[in-house]
Each structure stands twice: as structure tokens, then as C-alpha cells.
Amino acid sequence: MRADDRVEDLLRALAPQVLGALVRRHGQFDACEDAVQEALLAAAVQWPEEGMPDNPRSWLVTVASRRLIDQWRGEHARREREVAVATREPADLSVVPAPGEERSPGQDDTLTLLFLCCHPALSPPSQVALTLRAVGGLSTAEIARAFLVPEATMAQRISRAKQRVKAAGARFAMPPQAERETRLRAVLHVLYLVFNEGYTTTSGPDLQRADLTGEAIRLARGLRRMLPDDGEAAGLLALMLLTDARRPARTRPDGALVPLAEQDRALWDRAIVAEGIELITETLARAPLGPYQLQAAIAAVHAEAPRAEDTDWPQILALYRLLGRIAPNPVTTLNEAVAVGMVHGPRAGLDLLETLTADDRMTGHHRLDAVRAHLLEMAGDHEAARTAYRSAARRTTSLPEQRYLETRAARMAEAARTDS
């Protein structure tokens, strides 16, 4: 590992702890967050050149606190309210934190911060952006690159998200017990969104977006350490691991998507698969069941099959049915239809799909057409499969998906010619 990488890893791990320490002392989440970003940047420049300080965390707290005071002084000078600020400025701001603080539970701060960034006053995309910056320690430029928007746009989103959190009167404290469960679901969802944002990246100019996958896994590992008894936190981590393990096989070198059934399973990362399977097995045995655990269990069943044809589809079908019962969702039904097709034949799968055509959430959705096409192909109705693949290709806004669906449609046209 290069020295720069070591510094970066350390900075990213310390970022939420330093921010937590600052907010606990001074309040003002938005101002503290800016100050911590500046301290992180200063460290990223200075440490590789001048060597690591003896106590990196104290160094960051001190530098960030100084920035915060400078900022306050500047603002208050403009408002000509120096007197007010002098009384508010704690005496120990620019000195090294008390020895007791070093033992302070940085993990609790990180968790509190996660809850704050996933505040219900924010939309999911804003929660994602704020979490990546405040908890993940990513710079605005890095987040902007990952989401393919200009840096100014992302800066605006983050600053607006912070204003919203402030306006909602949120404090730097754990949410009350009654809200905690709902808020934790929001945190898990945000990590899931970050993961997907990176995972769906195929190749080419967007490859750096794949870093988001690693970041999501890092944050999910941290969350699981902080909440070792929560089955869904473990389930989400297992789902991420089992999905990410397939990454080397899911695209061809030219970026074309490879469906699960056609992936070269020798390319799956066995060590990550083993970790994911162990985690989900252990979790299912002890925790109350939840949607992430079930999705991880389904991914584990796929991972356990040496070849696609060895897949235990009856078990996958049972898991999808269970998932549909505890968390009804049209996308789950879509996946269940694929499993039904594999267990009871394509016509049975198509029958289940019919129940979705009346669902507004799926109207015009390319995935509905894609699954229908797949089942029609299995049923040997090449002409109808071609029509459905074409329809899906028109509706997707993903270039690699479109390419895959068009290739499939062309193959069906070929097969239809052979049929007649």
C-alpha cells in the first residue's frame, strides 16, 4: 500500500469521528462539516509530505476547530458582533483535546452522524450525498464525479441538504427509541443506493463510479460493527458482498452485460462469496427475518450453484415468496415470476406477470417487458419474445441494457426464421 493510500484510508476512517467531536462541542453541524472538510484537505496535502502527526485525530480536531473559529470570526466581523462571539468561543478550542476525549466513543458519533445525514427531511439523493461527504469523508469533487454532475451542482445539493437538516431542527443526538427503527431503515436504504450506484457501472469512462461499491461496503461493515445485533445491517452487508463477488463476471471486456445464467462462475470472487455466505447463514439463524437478509439468502443460493443449471430454484422461489409476504413490491413479484418460470415452467411465470400489468408502478417499465421476453423465449415463442425484447430495449435508459436487449431481439428474429 502506498503512503498516500494509507493516509487516505486513515482520513476517511477518522472523518466522522472528528466531525462528531466537533459537533458535540460546538453544535452547528453545517459549519463543522465544512471545517472538517478543510482539515481533511490540509491533512491530505501535509501528511504525505511532512509525515503523519503523533495523534492524527487530535491534529484533525485542532485544525478543524481553528477553521471553525476563523469562519466565525470572519462572519461576525462582517456582522460587527465580535463581542457576542468572544463570549461564545470556548477556551479550549484550539488546543489538543483532553485526554479523556481520546477514549470517547467515536463509533457512537459515527452512528449518530449517519442518522443525522439520513434525516427524514431529506430526499434519498440528498441523504446519499450528505452521507458520502460527512460520514464517508469524500470530497464534493469526488461525489460529483461519482454521480456524473458538475462539482458546483453537487456542492449546492450538499449545502442545501445541510440547510434542510438545520431547518428541521435536527440535533446531533441519537433519534428517540421510537423512531430509531424507521431511521435505521433509511440508513440501510442509503447504503444500498450507494452500492447500486457503483455496482451498475459497467466500464469505460464511468469506471470510477465503481468505487462507490467499495465505499458502500466499507460503511456497511462499519454499521454492522456498531450494531452487531441488527439482522438487517448484517443482511445488507452480506447482500453487498455476494453481489459484488460477481462483478468480474457480469460484464465482458467490451462492457457488454452478461446475464447471471451465462456468467463464468470461475470468475466470481470466492473469498468474498465465502464471507457473504458465512455472514448470512449466521444471521438467519439468530435474527428476526428482514428483506435484506432474504435478498442475501437468494444471492447465496445462486452463489452456491457451481453451474447455472445446478441452481436450487425451488429454494429461490420459496425465498421470493417469503420476501413478497414481508415486503410486498412489484420488483419482487417480477423476480418471483422468473423463479416460477424455472420451477413450474414459463407459462406459469407469464401468468404471474399478468398480475403486474395492472400495477401503476410497473407500467411502461422496461424490466416487465424484459422478464416477459425472457419467459416467452423459454416457452419457445420466438416471435412474441422478439417483440417484448424490442419493447424493453426502447424503454430502458441504460445503454448496456439496451445493447443486451437488442442483441437478444435479433437472436429471437433469427430463431423465428429457423422456426418457420
Partner: protein
């Protein structure tokens, strides 16, 4: 989701507007751009020069043929675009509906293709 909002209007129509109408038009554009910048939805946008400045290029049998004027002669011409990143398709339509040109001419809301894709 990212969308390109294509602005269509009749070239030169602004000259025929009264001062007050012109102020309202440009004021409306400024206000909306400011709002979209502040909300973090604006990604970019450009206005195009008058269609008379267009050159259309066609290559046939390896030979480029360059003609003056746009590809399609129409009353309403493509005048510029803005790019937004918003949470719902409905929001993109709402922004288009508030763009001043939508009142007299038309806006087109086109989703952008992305490089990412899910396992099928």
C-alpha cells in the same frame, strides 16, 4: 434521472415582443435558472445561434456536402437546451412547463441514456 429539456421557438420572435413581454421572458428564464441552480438540479445548458448560422454536413460516398441552414426546415427551431438531474420524470415536466418558451412554442423532455446497467 437526468433529462435534456429541448427548447423550441420561432427564430427572431423575441424582436416582435413588447419591452414588457421581453422582460417577462428573460426574467422568467433568470428566475428559473436561479431556482434550479440553488436546488442542485441544474447540470448545464446552452443557447444556440440563429438557425441561419447553421451548416448541415452530409457525407455520401466519402464526399462531404456542406449546405447552409438547418437539417429540417421548420417554423419552430431547436433554440437551445438545459440539462437537469431531478428525482422524478414529473419534476422534469414541471420544469419544462415553467420555461417561458413553453407558453408560446414547445419544450421537449428527453431522458438521457446512462452507462450503467443491471444484470438481466
Amino acid at each position: 434521472m437526468k433529462y435534456m429539456l429541448l427548447i423550441y421557438n420561432r427564430p427572431g420572435f423575441a424582436e416582435e415582443l413588447s419591452e414588457a413581454e421581453r422582460d417577462e421572458l428573460f426574467g422568467g428564464v433568470d428566475a428559473l435558472m436561479k431556482e434550479l441552480t440553488e436546488s442542485g438540479e441544474l447540470i448545464g445548458g446552452e443557447a444556440l445561434a440563429d438557425p441561419s448560422q447553421t451548416k448541415t454536413v452530409r457525407v455520401r460516398d466519402g464526399v462531404p456536402a456542406v449546405t447552409d441552414g438547418p437539417y429540417i426546415e421548420a417554423k419552430e427551431q431547436f433554440a437551445g437546451y438545459i440539462m437537469v438531474d431531478c428525482e422524478t420524470p414529473g419534476r422534469a415536466v414541471e420544469i419544462a412547463a415553467r420555461w417561458p418558451d413553453a407558453k408560446r412554442w414547445a419544450m421537449e423532455v428527453r431522458p438521457l441514456m446512462q452507462q450503467s446497467g443491471t444484470e438481466m
